[in-house]
């Protein structure tokens, strides 16, 4: 039965390979110089994230002394300490490098989880409609009334503060964005001839959902990966800044909290600028890449 559906003239494959999607994205990224630069920046940070702990000049938790045995308190940038040291004598440059890994793990896992949830919920709500759809859309409405940061910190107080609970809190509060968009998409795709054809041919719901509808919404779902990645990094930074992140994990957000708590935003401007700049560069690179993807999906935008 299901093989019959796949052989139908209006199969989903036609939709899927309208001039090779991957090739289109690549050509768009190459043409859009900003997206190309963003991609380069992200690749650079990805490499740092992978090899970070091996190339960091010091252990980011070590309290360093100078040659006289004095603790290095807020040392200025120098050849040994490219970005100086913190108020308790830790090497800022090493913290920055090691923090990259945490940012990429948290951002990556949160983004994938968020998009996966959104795909499943979007498919169910948009395809079955009826009470499932009502229920899910009501849940999305409710989720929008629960702002990420305040609810996340409450959750973290109760669940304990670790990297995994931070990721869980972020995912629990951010699936709403992609879900709403994907559900709308599924709703319109479900009315298309190839889906109706597959149904007439006797394909199971499961097969229709994953074999026919999923490929058509995948491009839009993929857009939410960089968006979710960026938002997760910013959310983690905010949570750590408020003091509810994993206290053992060196993240850019925790670095910002430390400099703020130390009251050193005046004396050691490099300490406050460096982690914030890293977050900004990584997250906005994700956004620029997203914009290039959107241009592929919506060619009308390209002419601008």
């Amino acid at each position: 039965m299901s093989t019959l559906a796949a052989r139908l003239p209006f199969g989903a494959r036609i939709e899927r390979f309208k001039g090779s999607y991957t090739a289109q994205i690549l050509s768009q990224v190459v043409r859009d110089r900003l997206a190309l630069v963003s991609l380069g920046i992200l690749l650079f940070f990805t490499v740092i994230a992978v090899i970070g702990p091996f190339i960091a000049p010091y252990d980011p938790r070590d309290r360093l002394m100078d040659e006289n045995g004095q603790l290095l308190v807020i040392a200025s940038p120098s050849a040994e300490h490219l970005l100086g040291t913190t108020n308790v004598g830790r090497d800022i440059f090493s913290q920055l490098i090691v923090g990259t890994q945490a940012a990429f793990i948290i951002g990556g896992i949160a983004a994938i989880a968020e998009v996966a949830i959104a795909i499943v919920l979007g498919l169910v709500a948009g395809y079955y409609k009826g009470w499932r759809d009502n229920l899910l859309m009501r849940a999305v409405d409710v989720a929008y009334t629960l702002p990420v940061e305040p609810v996340a910190i409450v959750l973290l107080v109760f669940l304990g503060q670790s990297m995994w609970t931070v990721i869980l809190a972020i995912v629990l509060l951010s699936w709403r964005n992609a879900t709403r968009v994907l559900r709308t998409q599924v709703l319109s795709v479900s009315e298309r001839a190839f889906v109706k054809g597959a149904r007439v041919a006797g394909a199971s719901d499961f097969r229709i959902l994953f074999r026919h509808i999923l490929p058509t919404i995948l491009p839009i779902a993929i857009i939410y990966l960089p968006v979710g990645f960026g938002n997760a990094i910013v959310a983690e930074a905010a949570i750590s800044f408020l003091g509810f992140g994993d206290p053992e994990l060196t993240t850019w957000g925790l670095m910002l909290r430390e400099v703020f708590d130390a009251g050193a935003t005046q004396t050691a401007w490099w300490w406050i600028v460096a982690p914030g700049l890293c977050i900004t560069v990584v997250v906005s690179s994700m956004f620029f890449l997203t914009r290039a993807f959107e241009d592929v999906l919506n060619p009308r935008l390209q002419k601008r």
Partner: protein, 321 residues
């Protein structure tokens, strides 16, 4: 009819949100009383506290009492402040509301204006830089921008106060004249600026895009053919319709604003709901934290209702669908 339907659905949303807040605060592992009183407390003190908090009753009864108290605006008592939670939360609610509304006005006013201007200069270097900056700034953490602004304008240049809502320290007395004073406005500038730098990106990009859509339509062509000035065509004819997507997106702003403002309030020690909830959680004052979170949900819901009504007023098609 439309109003009644929206009101009902938003009340249901609020009820569910408040239920989630209730459940959230019962997730706490272990015994809340010993968490509050510390490990050295006596069994009797713990039992007394458990009883006074009503935590010895069955969950469903607790939920009923919770909702009943909420209707009467009774949020319990705060341990850390030794005051009814309502007395702590209400002024914070007002302070947060002022911050959100001021940010909304600045971000959406400025964002929409810049969006129109960028659409006007489409294809130029100016437009390219403007769009780039708007998107790049959306990647910057709001609290980081806030700290940078404090360092520069408050600590370095000493133009504006670094923290708080007024210069008079903690008299506890906040009256209408407080909010109308120049001193208050000076304290408001930096927090609003920090939040707006992030928030104006969305209306800016939306208005710019919809302006570009609108510019090609016949009615704008007609306005131009009538010989009206470029400025009049842009602002009187095109911009008016191009605003709608930004108005619709204001719900998104509200959802972001209450979260984003938690961090901004913390940087500036702004006595709002964000500061309240963080302070309450730090000292494990769950009653206060629960009241603050419920207030945040209520604030978001009421702002969304207002946004809905404004959208319906501006775009009568919404009412029909």
């Amino acid at each position: 009819m439309y109003l009644a339907r929206r009101l009902f659905s938003i009340l249901v949303t609020l009820l569910i949100a408040l239920t989630i807040v209730f459940v959230l605060f019962r997730l706490l592992p272990g015994d809340p009383a010993s968490a509050l009183l510390g490990p050295l407390s006596s069994q009797e003190a713990r039992d007394n506290l458990t009883e006074s908090l009503g935590l010895d009753k069955p969950m469903l009864e607790q939920y009923g009492i919770y909702l009943g108290n909420l209707v009467q605006l009774d949020l319990g008592t705060s341990f850390s402040q030794r005051l009814p939670v309502m007395d702590v939360v209400w002024p914070a609610f007002v302070n947060s509301l002022i911050l959100v509304l001021a940010t909304f006005i600045v971000a959406y006013g400025l964002g929409a204006l810049l969006g129109v201007v960028l659409a006007w200069y489409r294809g130029t270097r100016f437009e390219a830089i403007g769009s780039f900056a708007a998107l790049a700034l959306r990647g910057a953490p709001t609290f980081w921008i806030a700290i940078l602004l404090v360092s520069l304008f408050a600590l370095n240049l000493k133009w504006l106060p670094a923290a708080g809502m007024t210069s008079i320290q903690n008299t506890g007395e906040v009256s209408l004249s407080t909010y109308l004073s120049w001193d208050f406005v000076k304290h408001l500038i930096l927090p609003v600026a920090a939040a707006s730098i992030y928030a104006l990106g969305l209306p800016l990009l939306l208005v710019r895009n919809s302006m570009l859509d609108v510019i090609g339509t016949p009615y704008v062509e007609l306005a131009r053919a009538k010989g009206l000035s470029q400025k009049s065509v842009m602002f009187k004819h095109a911009a008016r319709n191009a605003m709608l997507p930004a108005v619709t997106a204001s719900a998104q702003f509200i959802a972001w604003a209450m979260g984003g403002l938690v961090v901004v309030e913390n940087v500036f020690s702004w006595p709002g709901l964000g500061t309240t909830i963080v302070d309450a959680l730090e000292v494990r004052d769950y009653q206060l934290a629960q009241g603050a979170l419920a207030s945040i949900a209520a604030l978001v819901v009421s702002l969304m209702l207002i946004a809905d009504l404004v959208t319906a007023y501006l775009d009568p098609r919404v009412k029909l669908s």
